[in-house]
């Protein structure tokens, strides 16, 4: 998928530059782009290192499992069949709590194992409603602090940096709620196979 993305950008740019004749700008952009990638990585490396350390402390001290307990009453309504049958309950709560704290490295493996648990003993190749809801929540990636974006903005000299947190919360929460509602409504009209 990434390879395709790269080729589309490359080939369309080369074709356009050949037709309209600005090959110099094209060559410059290759060199500048390569050196810019280092600047972008450097701008996020420090804060990513620090923040991952902070999150590891929260994880080890049991704050995540505390958050999981707080979320359980809410999640009961979002994943009705998994919670009723006590399937993958812990995995789902752990995955969502990790997501809220912005542990994106931890969220994906937790979600994958939650779906594996929900899939145990099934032979169908169709996803269930609860699995789809979990995937949709993963897509909206609601998290408390968008650390990578803020550090990129700060390193580019932005005067509006932390202030983006609130619009991000609103947008992410709205997307997540809309996704959950849509997934439950559509789910109501189709049965799990």
């Amino acid at each position: 998928m990434l390879g395709k993305c790269f080729s589309v950008f490359c080939l369309s740019s080369i074709a356009y530059a050949l037709v309209f004749g600005d090959l110099r700008a094209l060559c410059d952009s290759v060199l500048l782009g390569a050196s810019k990638s280092v600047t972008v990585i450097i701008s996020i490396i420090g804060f990513m290192t620090f923040w991952n350390g902070v999150m590891e402390v929260l994880k080890d001290s049991g704050i995540i499992s505390f958050l999981s307990r707080l979320l359980t009453p809410l999640l009961k309504h979002i994943f009705p069949s998994s919670f009723k049958n006590k399937v993958a309950r812990d995995e789902i709560t752990a995955c969502i709590s990790a997501g809220v704290l912005g542990l994106s490295n931890a969220t994906t493996p937790l979600a994958i194992s939650a779906i594996e648990k929900m899939n145990e003993g099934r032979s169908s190749s169709y996803a269930t409603k609860d699995m789809i809801t979990l995937a949709i929540i993963g897509c909206a990636c609601f998290n408390l602090i968008p650390t990578t974006i803020i550090s990129m903005r700060v390193s580019q000299g932005a005067s509006i940096s932390y202030e983006i947190i609130v619009p991000v919360w609103i947008c992410s929460f709205a997307c997540m709620s809309l996704g959950i509602i849509l997934s439950r409504v559509i789910g109501a009209f189709s049965a799990d196979r």
Binding site: S29, G53, E56
Partner: protein
């Protein structure tokens, strides 16, 4: 609105306060060791992004540098302007559902090209921060359990992705 904006400055200090208390008073284990373990993983994963980022930033940079990006943006801008989305963020909208590093690459390009506090850059930042790479998430979540039929998951996810573009632009205009 002002209280809401001020509150965004309290989140990081609050979390660090909790972490400081845990490291100072935690008895179960040495929590500074946990910090170092996590930090090491963070550093490794940031550095391991470089090869992908390098390829994709070159791609995005060629796309804008050759003029084709501007050409397409100009063509779409009457339409984009009408719906309130800046056409400068087109490469970002195209890459956001597919890849996290590609959309970070587009964001980096937009931040440095138009200035971090410009309208397109603010919209781009909110879009990248508030939704994940939906196509990637859906494919990787179900792949290990060999669930090929994801039913209505992808349509909803793509719909959310488009919705987040509109909502982000509206929120940026409302806040800044």
């Amino acid at each position: 609105m002002q209280i809401v904006e001020k509150s965004s400055f309290f989140v990081i200090p609050f979390i660090l306060f909790v972490v400081g208390v845990i490291i100072l008073f935690g008895r179960k284990k040495d929590y500074f060791d946990s910090f170092l373990t996590g930090a090491k993983n963070g550093a490794t994963s940031a550095v391991s992004l470089l090869p992908t980022m390098c390829a994709l930033i070159v791609g995005v940079s060629m796309f804008t540098g050759s003029g084709i990006g501007d050409f397409i943006s100009e063509g779409l801008s009457p339409f984009f302007d009408r719906i309130g989305v800046p056409s400068e963020i087109l490469p970002l909208i195209l890459t956001r559902p597919i890849s996290g590093s590609a959309s970070l690459a587009s964001l980096g390009e937009i931040l440095s090209r138009y200035g971090a506090d410009s309208y397109p850059a603010l919209c781009a930042s909110v879009i990248v921060a508030s939704t994940d790479t939906v196509v990637y998430v859906i494919s990787i979540y179900f792949a290990k359990s060999k669930l090929k039929k994801t039913r209505y998951a992808l349509p909803i996810a793509l719909f959310i992705s488009v919705f987040s573009v509109f909502l982000s632009c509206i929120l940026v205009r409302a806040f800044f």
